[in-house]
Amino acid sequence: MRFLRFSIIWIYALIIFIPLLVVIESSFKSLADLYTNPLLPSRQMNLAAYQTLISQVPLLHYFRNSFIVTVATIVIVLWCSSMIAFGILRLPRILSAIIYGVFSLGMMIPTQVNMIPVFLELSHLHIIDTLYGLIFVESAFLLPVAVFIIGGFMRTLQKELLEAAWIDGANEWQMFFRIAVPLSTPSIASAAIFCSVIVWNDLLFPLLLLKSSSNWTIPLALLSFEGQYQTNYPVIFAGVLLASIPMVVLYVFLQRYFIAGITAGAIKG
């Protein structure tokens, strides 16, 4: 029994780990080398794939685009969703129920259903193929989840705190900024991480909305390698590795928040 348990754990660990290891290893090989010897490390490992990639692809530019979209989306989503969550908490019952209802409906409609209308709407507004068009759309789609993560947490705050502040003469803004927001930091951090992983890795909306390659985000750029380098795996894997660095670094350092954030998003969503 113990042996069975032990072997299941380690076998699955290898199933996760070996593909990752092979990717790292292959990115240092030449294509010919990879074909003669796909599995084991070889003597001729070098950085050629990385050099090809960096000299041919404006990777930094794509990083910049992804970074702008991710950061802007998070700022907008957190700003709006924490206020909405506070509103649901403080507004008269009927109004808050309506807002709550609208956002729970929003959670039920999958993004894929809306891809055509979103595309046409942005074309009509002439903000297709712009980064801020993408930012607006990503923000709108992540707003409901963030409202639920933060709102669910704010509801557990003690009402007495807000009442005490109110007696002390605080207005709604002060209650929001001085009490509700600081006390909800864990949930706001969860929402931020959940959103950043989704936006950074998203393919569908960039694919729909960004046409010119100067606006591409990282996943779109990666996808274009498929055509550009066909099955030149070393170059593709060099790109995959470089593209994953930001999230991996965050994951290593903020592991606990990361797991909590992504799980919170899954449970609410």
């Binding site: 348990r5 299941i8 754990i9 699955y12 660990a13 996760i16 593909p19 092979v22 074909y35 796909p38 599995l39 609208v102 956002f103 929003g106 039920m108 409609i109 999958p110 993004t111 894929q112 259903v113 809306n114 891809m115 055509i116 209308p117 979103v118 595309f119 046409l120 709407e121 607006f136 923000s139 709108a140 789609f141 707003l143 992983v197 890795n201 998203d202 393919l203 569908l204 694919l207 990282i218 996943p219 990666l222 996808l223 498929e226 099955t231 795996y233 593709i236 894997f237 995959v240 593209a243 994953s244 999230m247 994951y251 592991q255 797991i259 992504i262 799980t263 899954a266 449970i267 969503g269």
Partner: protein
Amino acid sequence: MFLVFFVVPTFYGLGLSFTNSSGIVNKYSFVGIRNYINIFENDSVFHQALMNTLKFVVTVVIIQSLLSLVFALLLLRNTKTNIFMRTLYFFPTILSSVSVAFIWTFIYDPNIGILNEFLGFIGLGKLQQDWLGNPLIAIYCLAVVEIWAHAGQLMIIYLAGLQQIPNELYESAALDGANKWITFSRITWPMLAPATTIVVAYTTIQSFKMFDLIYAMTNGGPNNATEVLATYIYHQAFQYNHMGYAAAVSMIFMLIISLITLIQFGLLRLQSD
């Protein structure tokens, strides 16, 4: 903003589904429910996409939920190895679907893929094949990738559920002389019901919506063998410019998802009663 970019598109999409818009020229006419009739009566690819989606969803939901439960049970105690393993199992979740797609395209590669290499190595060379090129198994190969990428994430939900079960229950069961299987079936499993509901609901919706991974790996091929609803909508709308038609497919898609969500909410309520 939410209204403009989320609520408006939904209704816009509904209206569009009754037209024959191509999306390029601004001229289109109202065709009533003809799109819907065509989808159900003449569109064999739609039926194929629907069946593929169901195959994908059923495979992923069953295997992923089971695996994540097993992992959560195995890694429950907070030992150093277990904590490390949880971190490792969760890791693929943070990779983008495009990255995961490339990694697994390489694994499945018929010439140099490590899956074929491995099969040859352990003497199962007979099984070597072009995994994603075989229409019979391609969709299941994609399901395996999805499971690899997200089983660790669902394990965390089960772990949270397991940690909420009070220890006293196990202690009294041990006093009564219950064996492991009885303890699991009488205590752990019933107490895990809320976690199971979340895991199954989340996996179902996620795999129903699957787009990125499939688009990046097979793009619906070979011969529509991996075309699912989300990629079908995309292809109809942006490859063939059948915007109105694709909008109608989207509406059916939404209906199916809402139905599943409602059923699951119903089950959840039933459980909590």
